[in-house]
């Protein structure tokens, strides 16, 4: 044994007068800026998507209703409640949070004798650390899912500008799988979709490459998937929780992908419902548009004998006669309608109710009637010169194009309107101008400024690609006519379209004017309905709303119990709303007839 080994340990005594080492007092010590402490949640930013609850492996998070926060489009109204008896502070909830509202403060101390207080809704119950700037935030460039949308391939402008070839090419399988992978299955979209389609469910089926299941999910709420997969206004995408950090999921294109994958011959095999008891009861449907077709499909599925009365020679309504072929090819429309007809739905074409057959007669022959006759009467601006023969209604021309009639196409055209119909007619005429003159000279002018134009953004972008000139924020003044010929459109600056209450009340600056040269003017400022076939005869018994619409309940049932209404005539604005109305009316009719 060495002497050193005996003496050396006494060196510990040199610390005899050193201050104690834990000099930092726990209650005063501030945690690191990245510390994962108690949660903070920005109540305004949070949309209640529930991905935090989904990823938490401790089941420490529950989505609960919170006082003062209601359910609305894009917000489930629920907020995460965290149980700190279960939380392991891993911060995966912060990483996955779609809006970035959920963060963690660097506060880690909180003492209370009541164990229940450690389960609370961050942000809803005021805590001392709510305003803390320090604490764990999701690091930049660190994502637990792909935030970028898989781009959709389109036919380039030069290849499509002279023809009505379909622009959007559709996803390949690999693209669809990658796009479907992005969905976090929050289901916020379901409430916003007018038809409440099972969106996360069919996206999941895409992910699992189970097209049969996907198609079944689509048909639960929508019998026109090829159509909606192309022209739906996709309100679902406007609330998609993926949009906060990146792009919303391409829900519409995924729907199209599903429908495109399954050939029409296999529909019956996949969707063929269990044998339904055929009822002897008969239902008449007026109008073979999306509302009427949807009602017919679900009524047929319920066993009713359905006859659809259609004014035109072919079914589809606005989908065929309003929407141009480059957006919705007729063969795809026919695929959807063909399946509905295969269920035994009868269709009577070239029959206008009110002219060829009366509503009274239908009431007599059928047990219930569903009317979805749409808005087919173009509205006029009624400016000076609007009665000139070279002033047309967009809706009339679109119909004539479908029917293959000869169309007046001038060298210079002005389209008035900023909605999707205006875009449809502008792009249709641009193609026809290109075919006829080899160039496009078409101005589209709207009251609305570009940021509030009702048309879809992609319509605006694609119109420009096709050389349509867009002139927003102008109000039509008068149509200049010389020697009986149209010279152009005088416009005045539109300052605002809506008043403070959000009502349509445009304000103009008379001093700022402009002149758009044209030989032809197209009005596309909206359409009205013609429901005289209904109101004339049953005027006294049909209850109306203050806005002079037929009053209906949630099922579309009017004050005449046998008469149901839906689609654009009850305030719908698009195909998917009409489809939803048709589905609801089918349920309502079933209820009514089984009373």
């Amino acid at each position: 044994m060495r002497l050193k080994d005996v003496l050396s340990p006494f060196l510990a005594w040199k610390h005899l007068f050193s201050p104690p080492v834990p000099v930092r007092k726990p209650l005063e010590r501030e945690a690191a800026p990245r510390y994962r402490g108690f949660h903070q949640n920005d109540m305004e930013e949070c949309i209640g998507c529930g991905t935090c609850e989904e990823i938490c492996q401790n089941a420490a998070i529950d989505m609960v209703p919170v006082e003062g926060i209601g359910t609305r489009d894009g917000d489930s109204g629920l907020r995460p409640r965290i149980d700190y008896g279960r939380c392991c502070w891993c911060a995966l909830c912060v990483d996955i949070c779609t809006t970035g509202s959920l963060t963690m403060s660097n506060e880690y101390q909180w003492i209370d004798t009541d164990p229940d207080v450690f389960r609370f809704v961050p942000g809803a119950e005021a805590k001392p650390w709510d305003e803390r700037k320090k604490g764990y935030r999701k690091p930049e460039h660190y994502e637990l899912y792909n935030t970028e949308r898989i781009p959709m391939e389109e036919v380039p402008p030069e290849a499509r500008s002279k023809s009505f070839i379909e622009i959007v090419k559709g996803y390949s399988k690999a693209q669809a799988l990658r796009e479907a992978d992005r969905c976090v299955e929050c289901g916020i979209c379901i409430a916003t979709c007018p038809a409440h389609m099972g969106i996360p469910e069919y996206i999941k089926a895409v992910r699992e490459d189970d097209m049969e299941q996907a198609l079944r999910v689509l048909y639960e709420t929508n019998p026109l998937p090829e159509v909606c997969g192309r022209i739906c206004t996709h309100k679902c995408e406007t609330v998609c929780s993926m949009q906060y950090k990146g792009d919303p999921i391409s829900i519409r294109w995924l729907k199209r992908y599903i429908a495109d994958q399954v050939p029409a011959e296999r529909y019956e095999e996949i969707l063929g419902a269990d044998a339904v008891e055929q009822s002897n009861k008969k239902v008449a449907v007026i109008g073979a548009g999306p509302g009427g077709l949807s009602a017919a499909y679900y009524l047929a599925r319920l066993g009713y004998r359905v006859n659809v009365f259609e004014e035109r020679a072919e079914p589809g309504g606005m989908m065929r006669y309003g929407i141009p072929e480059y957006r919705l090819p007729y063969d795809q429309l026919d695929k959807d309608i063909g399946y509905i007809r295969s269920l035994g739905v009868k269709m009577t074409f070239n029959t206008r109710v009110g002219k060829d057959i009366t509503l009274e007669q239908l009431h007599k022959d059928y047990d219930a009637v569903f009317a979805a006759t749409g808005l087919h009467q173009g509205r006029s601006t009624r400016v000076d010169g609007a009665d000139h023969p070279m002033v047309f209604q967009a809706i009339d021309i679109l119909r004539d194009v479908t029917e293959g009639k000869k169309i007046e196409v001038a060298e210079k055209i002005v389209v008035i309107g900023g909605g999707n119909v205006a875009m449809d007619i502008a792009r249709t005429l641009a193609r026809l101008q290109n075919q006829k003159y080899g160039k496009v000279q078409l101005i589209l002018t709207s009251l609305e400024s570009e940021d509030i134009m009702p048309a879809d953004l992609e319509e605006i972008v694609e119109s420009r690609e096709e050389n349509v000139v867009i002139e927003p924020s102008w109000g039509p003044g008068s149509i200049k006519i010389e020697d009986g010929k149209i010279k152009g459109l005088n416009v005045i600056r539109c300052l605002s379209v809506f008043d403070e209450d959000g009502r349509f009340n445009p304000k103009f600056d008379q001093n700022e004017t402009n002149f758009f040269e044209a030989d032809q003017v197209i009005e596309a400022i909206g359409q009205g309905m013609d429901i005289e076939y209904m109101t004339k005869k049953f005027e006294d018994r049909l209850e109306m709303t203050p806005r002079n619409r037929v009053k209906v309940d949630i099922f579309g049932q009017s004050s005449l119990p046998w008469l149901f209404l839906g689609g654009d005539i009850t305030g719908g604005t698009d195909a998917i709303t009409a489809i939803a109305d048709g589905h609801r009316a089918a349920k309502g009719i079933d209820k009514f007839l089984n009373k």
Binding site: D5, S8, P9, C88
Partner: protein, 392 residues
């Protein structure tokens, strides 16, 4: 080694294989349970000791006090949900679990980790080794009655936890190595503060040197205690410092290089005669090596750059059918995850290979025999085991 049998009675007689014959009816034996609450047992396990006088005649280990079923739990968790779970398998150095899980999933899913993330992971793993060794040293000296060295090393360990807190926001469970990369690089001014901490570690180790290693009591009690002959190393699955102290240069960092270790300059530390003193001394050298490696990493690692690979949506992440074994050198030896995936969104099976299983069960039962009861705690500490990883 002192010939202990010199002082012993004829009892007990030996089997032909050399093990003691224990006859309870003889009333010459007494059974003592050490643990599961005994501080000398490193964590929640216990030793069932049969003594004759104060000599251990037979040792049987018991685990099961801390069974949380991580391997089974993971089979019911999505891949990303395993990430916050695995750190609990070995509390004092959770990062090896995170690394093994992340590297497993990356390999099976074909994800390439960015360079900066690899450096960051190397830093975290080496910091984790250092932190774990510092805490262990306290336990080792404490087991022989020398509490003061442990106070010093645990203080500097606390400084290391401050550095972890800066990087990751967590002191004990860092959770900084998710599959795909890391959750962030080092914050501003980190290098200076890390250097300061490393100097504090070195200063503390100087004091430990004098009080623990130049200590007559410690030497008398540990030299020759718990000797692992080199031929036992492979037979008993001994790895890490326990094996290296026996002169077997086993080190995953060198034998199966991973992360950025091939770019670091270090020699595998070995010793002669793997007794408690040699093992303690070897770990002291490992602490100094870790300090050196952290300095090397800090000098070489980039201060910026991508640190996270693009992941598929983790909420429904499916990993193709496959299997792999990923290992790393933790403080106790080879730490590995053997994983089988079946193409679903959940791991089919993850088996955690922690060195504590072999060291604390098979090896301990062998080494404890013929020890003095007073030395059992020190012997147990010298094998450096963490019971939670025995009971995954």
């Amino acid at each position: 080694m002192a010939d202990k049998n010199k002082y012993r009675e004829k009892f007990p007689e030996k089997d032909p294989d050399g093990s003691n014959i224990i006859d309870p009816e003889s009333h010459k034996f007494i059974k003592v349970w050490q643990g599961p609450q005994h501080p000398g047992i490193t964590g929640n396990m216990s030793l069932e000791l049969i003594l004759q006088g104060d000599e251990v005649m037979h040792c049987k280990t018991h685990v099961g006090y801390l069974h949380r079923g991580f391997e089974k739990l993971m089979e019911r968790r999505r891949f990303i949900q395993c990430f916050p779970l695995v750190c609990r398998i070995a509390v004092p150095e959770p990062d090896f679990n995170e690394y093994c899980l992340a590297a497993t999933l990356e390999e099976l899913a074909g994800i390439k980790v960015p360079e900066a993330a690899k450096w960051m992971r190397t830093l975290i793993l080496e910091m984790s080794r250092l932190t774990s060794f510092l805490m262990w040293l306290g336990g080792q000296s404490g087991a022989f009655g020398l509490g003061v060295a442990g106070q010093w090393t645990n203080y500097v360990r606390d400084l290391m936890l401050d550095r972890f807190e800066e990087i990751s926001g967590g002191r004990i469970y860092r959770m900084h190595i998710p599959p795909g990369g890391v959750r962030g690089l080092t914050p501003d001014g980190f290098r200076a503060r890390m250097e300061e901490t490393l100097q504090a570690v070195e200063a503390a180790m100087k004091d430990v040197d004098r009080t623990l290693f130049d200590n007559a009591v410690f030497k008398r009690r540990t030299v020759g205690l718990g000797y692992i002959p080199p031929e036992m190393v492979d037979a008993y699955g001994v790895t890490g410092p326990n094996a290296r102290a026996a002169g077997v240069p086993k080190d995953v960092r060198r034998d199966h290089p991973y992360l950025k270790y091939p770019e670091l300059d270090f020699d595998v530390i070995t010793g002669n005669d793997s007794d408690v003193y040699t093992r303690t001394d070897l770990r002291r050298k490992e602490i100094l090596l870790s300090v050196d490696l952290i300095r090397q990493i800090m000098a070489k690692m980039p201060g910026s750059g991508e640190y996270m690979a693009k992941l598929p949506n983790v909420l429904h992440w499916k990993i193709p059918r496959g299997e792999t074994y990923i290992r790393a050198e933790c403080t106790r030896g080879e730490y590995g995850f053997y994983t089988v995936t079946d193409g679903s969104g959940y791991p089919r099976r993850i088996n955690v290979r922690g060195p504590s299983y072999t060291h604390a069960v098979a090896l301990m039962e062998k080494l404890a025999v013929d020890c003095n009861i007073a030395d059992v705690a020190g012997l147990m500490s010298s094998l450096h085991t963490y019971p939670p990883e025995i009971e995954r």
